[in-house]
Each structure stands twice: as C-alpha cells, then as structure tokens.
C-alpha cells in the first residue's frame, strides 16, 4: 500500500524543516520590520498563553485550601472549668487540633514561677504561659513541637509531659526542657469569661 509509506517521509520532511530554518532566515533579515512584528506577535501570544495557564491553575490550587465550611467551623469553643479538679488535665479540640486545659496545683505554680526562664531551650517566663490573674490555668496545644505526637502527662513522676515518639520533655506549663522539640507547646488564642469559663479561639483570625 502506498499509504504505509507515509511514515517513511519523516526523514525527508524533517530535512526540509531544517532547510526551512536556513532558507527562511535570510528573507527575514531582508525585512527587519517584518521580523520585529513577527517577534512581537510571538512574544505577546506566548505571554498570553502563559498567563492563561497560570490563571487556569489557580482554581485547582485554591480548591485545596481549607474550604468555607472548615474555616467557619473554627468558631470559638467554650470550656466549662468548674468540673476540672486541681492537677487534672482535660483534652478539648478546636479546629480539629488537640488542646490541653490543665489546672495547676499550688505546688506546681510555685515551682514553675521559680524556674530561671533564661536558661531554657525556648525561654518564656511564667506569665507568658498563663494569663495573669488566672495562675491556675494552662491552655496549650497538645501536639509535640517536634513532629506532632501527643505527649503523655505526668509519666514516671515527671511533673509535665513526655513525648513517646522521640523523648522530648515539657514542664508543667508546657515549656520544653529536653529536645528534640525546638519550642514550647504553643498557646492558642483564648479568653476567660469570668473565672469558670474559657473561650478558646476567641479573637483568632480565620
């Protein structure tokens, strides 16, 4: 079949196309204005296509960001503090993240205030960890700042938290006392509503 030989032309034509480049170039050089116009046209089209591709990609990227429902669900939560006894830690969730609410004992408050902040891995004075006037209450995110495991509280007589994954230690107000965790357990935005209630997430930005 004659048809079957079409592919055989690949050689011929590609040689042509190479010739094309050499034969066309001189004629372009003879018409510098034409060349400029052509270059501009190609450039404008290429730029337009690039802008279009980027604009097309944007919705796909944006759709992977938290959606409106997830963002709206981050409304503050209220935690009733009355049932929490001295020394007790409760877990709550805000925006899907674990938060410890800990009621410190008087002994712990005294010890924590006495620590020399400057010598810590991530120096933070006592009142950077709890709100003044509410010395008893620690509210901190409950995931280790190393790789996100949940530290275990009061294990083996340690008065704070110890991470089961890589051995980081935190004191009673969540300050890191031994690595590999690089920083203290972060404090979420929260505010007291009187003495018996706390709103976690109050004042947070979406």
């Amino acid at each position: 079949m004659a048809e079957g030989s079409a592919a055989g032309f690949a050689f011929v034509v590609s040689r042509e196309s190479r010739n094309l480049a050499t034969t066309v170039a001189p004629s372009d050089a003879a018409h510098p204005h034409g060349t400029t116009r052509r270059d501009f046209l190609y450039l404008a089209t290429g730029a337009g296509a690039a802008v279009g591709a980027a604009a097309l990609a944007w919705p796909f990227v944006a759709s992977m960001a938290p959606d409106a429902e997830t963002v709206a669900a981050g409304a503050p939560i209220e935690v009733d503090l009355t049932p929490i006894t001295e020394g007790q830690i409760i877990n709550v969730f805000w925006r899907g993240k674990l938060i410890f609410v800990r009621r410190l004992t008087q002994k712990e408050i005294g010890e924590m205030k006495a620590v020399q902040a400057a010598q810590m891995i991530d120096p933070a004075p006592f009142y950077a960890r709890v709100k003044e006037g509410h010395d008893q209450w620690l509210v901190a995110y409950g995931n280790c700042t190393h790789l996100g495991c949940v530290p275990i509280a009061n294990q083996g007589g340690h008065p704070g938290w110890g991470c089961p994954c890589h051995g980081s230690l935190f004191d009673a107000v969540g300050r890191v006392t031994r690595g590999p965790a690089p920083i203290n357990l972060p404090i979420p935005p929260y505010a007291f509503q009187g003495d018996a209630k706390v709103r976690i997430g109050e004042g947070a930005t979406a």
């Binding site: 066309v24 046209l41 089209t45 337009g48 279009g52 709206a72 409304a75």
Partner: protein, 308 residues
C-alpha cells in the same frame, strides 16, 4: 465548481427521502406537542442573561418571606447562616447574621455526660429544619413531606419542548429561567374553585401549574401577609402582594440554589474575553507560520475550489 449530473439526481432523491421522513415525523408528533397543563408564563428576572445579577434588596425581602412563611414547613438544608452574609447573596452584615443565628436553638453534643444539648445558633450552623426528619415532616403534613427548597429553582427547570432547545442556550435570545418561572407561577396558580367537573380530593388543593393540578400544599401566600421594611416615605418600597412576595422568594431560592451565580458570570465573562483575544493572537501566529509554505488551504473541500 460543477456538479455532475449524477450528483444532482442523487441530491433530488435524498431530498425527497428527507422530506418524506420529516413529514411523517411531524404528522406523528403533532399530537404530542402539548404535554398537559399550561406552561408557566415567562417572567423577567434580574439574574437572567449573560449580564444578569441578583438584586440584593430583593434577596433580603425574599429571605424575609421564606423565614416568615415557608420556613415553618420547608427546610433549607444546604444553607448556613453564614451564607446570608456572603457577597453576591442577600449580603446581610456579619453582626446581623450573628444575631439572627443566636435567635435559633441548635442541637449540639454529645457533651461530657454523653447528652445532646441545645445552644444558641452560630453563623456556621445549618439553617434549622422545621422537622427532625422526613418521616416527622410527612406525619405532620398529611403524609407528604414538604420538599427541601435549597435547590428548587434548579430542580424544577423544564425544557420548552419542540425545537426550542436549539436556541434556548444561546446568549440574549435563549431562555433558561424556567425553574424560577415555575416557582412563581405555582405560588400564583392557586384557584379557589377548580374548573367544572374537576374533583379535588380531601387534603388536596387545586393549582393551575402543578403537574396533575392537585397539590398538597395549601395556598401559602396572601396579600399583606408579610410586612416589608418601609422606604423613606413610610410606604413599603414594593407592593405587599402575593405576586411580589412570590417574585422575591423565588429570587431568594435562585440564590440558595446557585449561591455563586454572580462570581460565576463575572469570572466567565473575563475568561471568555481573554480566550477570544488569545485565539485572535494565535490566529495571526498560525497565519504567519503557514505563510512559510504558501499559506494554509482553506475551506472544507479545498480541491473543489481550486480545480477548474
């Protein structure tokens, strides 16, 4: 270009065949052109067409009608309080929506004791349904649950039949607001006395536009039923009539069905203009490139144009 004799004969035979087939079909289908019930009249909507937008004041009034009248039986399952504050919708202020949500009790839980409890609504909450489930809704309404209204304006669209579908999608001459037209017609379609000889069963109501004419829902709207906010002169800005209520609530339901309608059209116009410009540029690029080989051949049957 010359057509050989044989071709003409072939064409004539074909034409006769097509004409015969078409005639047979038209004759056969004429009897089925009208498929029961009057067609809802075509209304004017601010949101129709390529440049159509929602009228924010109308959506707010429509929401009021829904809230004061429809919401006692019909849920709005896919609407959250926060949606009411969104741009391109009724666009109430955030504080208005917060206050509105707080007026409703929302079931939440379980709490630490494992019990469900009620708390004031938050903007993130769903619009509360009048009934806890479909069965309860049916039991309270004579066996037929009032349908959810979130998507009604899109779910009740119908085709005009015939060959209208060929042009109905086109810009400016098309027509795709049959859904809202139906809702408006239905709300205005109640007749106190059905046509003679038409038996309306117990618990049914005669409606000109409802398929089969017997609708379970009693006439929901009457003139003056909803008090609209007053304008500067102390008079309502729009008449407080069934017709106006139904227009407003229909526009509101169009928004609940298609909350991103404005964003969609806005982005669409930009995208189309951009693509047209890009296509124009590409056309000239293509022309330049093809000029190297003597230009592109045009036409669907180039050889027929060139020979002779």
């Amino acid at each position: 270009m010359t057509t050989p004799k044989r071709g003409i004969e072939g064409m004539m035979r074909t034409r006769a065949l097509v004409a015969g087939l078409a005639a047979a079909i038209l004759a056969a289908t004429a009897a089925y052109a009208d498929e029961g019930g009057p067609t809802p009249p075509r209304e004017k909507w601010t949101f129709s067409g390529v440049f159509g937008t929602f009228d924010q004041a109308q959506l707010q009034r429509g929401f009021q009608v829904y809230r004061e009248v429809c919401s006692s039986c019909h849920s709005l399952h896919y609407v959250r309080f926060r949606n009411l504050a969104e741009e391109g919708g009724p666009h109430f202020s955030a504080s208005q929506v917060k206050a509105l949500a707080a007026e409703y009790k929302v079931k939440d839980g379980p709490n630490d004791q494992g019990e469900m409890f009620e708390r004031p609504g938050r903007p993130a909450d769903k619009w509360p349904s009048p009934f806890p489930n479909d069965q309860a809704a049916a039991a309270a309404n004579g066996g037929k649950a009032p349908p959810d209204l979130s998507l009604m304006a899109k779910a009740r669209t119908f085709s005009r039949g015939g060959l209208w579908f060929v042009i109905d999608w086109l810009p400016f001459v098309g027509y795709t607001e049959q859904g809202p037209d139906y809702l408006h017609a239905l709300l205005n379609g109640y007749k106190d006395s059905p046509p003679e000889g038409f038996q309306v069963p117990e618990g049914g109501h005669y409606n000109e536009y409802y398929p089969g004419h017997i609708i379970a829902m009693p006439k929901p709207l009457s003139d003056g039923q909803v008090t609209y906010p007053k304008g500067a002169n102390g008079q309502p800005v729009v008449p407080e009539t069934v017709d106006q209520y139904s227009r407003d609530v229909t526009a509101f339901l169009m928004w609940t069905a298609e909350p991103h309608l404005l964003a969609r059209k806005e982005l669409g116009l930009r995208a189309i203009i951009f693509l047209l410009v890009l296509a124009g540029l590409l056309y000239y690029v293509k022309k330049k490139i093809w000029s190297d080989v003597g230009g592109e051949t045009h036409g669907l049957q180039p050889e027929l144009h060139k020979t002779g």
